[in-house]
Symmetry: C2
Subunit: 314 residues, 2 copies
Amino acid sequence: MLPVFGHQNPDTDAITAALVYASFLTRTGTPAVAYRLGDLNFETPFVLREAGIEAPAMLPELAPGTAVALVDHNETVQSAPNLADLTVTHVVDHHKLGDLQTNAPAMLRFEPVGSCGTILLRLHREANLTVEPLEARLMLSAILSDTLHFRSPTTTDADREAVEFLAPVAGIDDVTGYAMRMFVAKSDLGDTPAEQLLKIDYKEFVFGEGEAAQRWGVGVTETTNPAYVLGRQDELLAAMRRLKQEEELQGVLLSVVDILQEHNETLVPSEAEAAVLQGAFGVQVAGDRANLGSCISRKKQLIPALEEYFARQG
Amino acid sequence: MLPVFGHQNPDTDAITAALVYASFLTRTGTPAVAYRLGDLNFETPFVLREAGIEAPAMLPELAPGTAVALVDHNETVQSAPNLADLTVTHVVDHHKLGDLQTNAPAMLRFEPVGSCGTILLRLHREANLTVEPLEARLMLSAILSDTLHFRSPTTTDADREAVEFLAPVAGIDDVTGYAMRMFVAKSDLGDTPAEQLLKIDYKEFVFGEGEAAQRWGVGVTETTNPAYVLGRQDELLAAMRRLKQEEELQGVLLSVVDILQEHNETLVPSEAEAAVLQGAFGVQVAGDRANLGSCISRKKQLIPALEEYFARQG
């Protein structure tokens, strides 16, 4: 059984893409099983509960040389710790191509769309496979989640068309209402410790090249209730400073994204990050916070601006 | 117009894939134009003449940041010299994923099949595009060329099915006869200087990692007339030794592949290559030549064996 898994700190797209691609591969002759690389966020359990299914199991340690399929990521720092020893035979992703290399020709399917769900729907159509209601619901949820119901600048026409096709198959009449319930579930953070809150949607990146290269951690909290998250600013900043030291990072950021207002307020743990944000976005940092306005997409806005900034320094 | 190009030392797959993918992109809303990165081999002019079309122009120097589409390769050493400054937005390839990275999410389509022609036919079918006779002929020629008319171990069922579909569309009744005429054209090397003969289908590879890494050049001459090529062994060995010195390579090989007998006789310019071939293939070198038997695919047999050998040394 080919293991299929998304990135560390999995979001709804990473989990549902693993489930749907494993089902697709199995139906098309390659028996596969979905796994996850970490704890679920607060949105995905809602999606799985509504779909009536369990979360995939945690990925066990795999023997060197085991064939694996990746979804929703391709950079080794975001993948299984021993990815370099595994044999990647399939990738479905909508991120830029990073440091992945394969030992042999593989099946790679990358498209610049808002969600892996959109690519997976294409795979079904191309293979003339019926889309079952369960998979339709999972793909639709992934697209709504990753595009913040079409608010993110990563949204493409293909994502909108996919949702239009999938909603009736999934039996979801009120897509807007369903999306809102997903986002409210995601925002119900309860008494989650600050360390955990910071890591819910958190990825590491390397900026710059050679000796000047810097490792940064960039978290995003997408919420319908930013006041709650920003009310815990001091705790979160303390957690960011600890993480930075423990992981020997050069920078850590946490963007609190107001889904409904499409606004980004970013927490800034030290002068170092403040200087970079000023250089990259032309903003002033006040009270350990930077107003990044409508820059709400890490993939399409935050990371490219940081990459350009570090490239200019290099 | 998006420039589309295959690898340096283009073969029939690299040239025809650029032509067909440029046509496909144009028909699906992204105006594109095919280019080549080097002189044609002896097979491709036959294919283009039979198809009644001209070869694509040489790729001009492109301004940094220009968007480009790659076909039939992805490693920077095999691509445009300034690839690192260009913006790769599309790739169609059937090789293993190498050192390519992209600045933004891109359209990547890699499949472990015998030829880019097979992937391009899929793209047409998925997009519900009619396959025109010209493109059918080009894709069919690419598949026959890259798989040596299904003799190569890289051949898959998808390649066979593609040829079965394409032959009537292209108006080619006798596929075996057409393939033979292609291979004879390829073997008509005339008085090609040894330097040029060596470079007709030649690629650079990096074996091993870190300080132990070695750059090798590996040429393959697929021919229906191996006696002619091996008759020029001394000239070819001299050219290989010169190339090795000029390019500061650690090794150079030239495999003379008898298409019809499916046999590989490899020229060995020094003790260094002899030792590696012995370690990688367990063969003895006699008279500057190694009998590599039925190892006729560089991609599927020669390079993996060399990579494994260097990995064991590391």
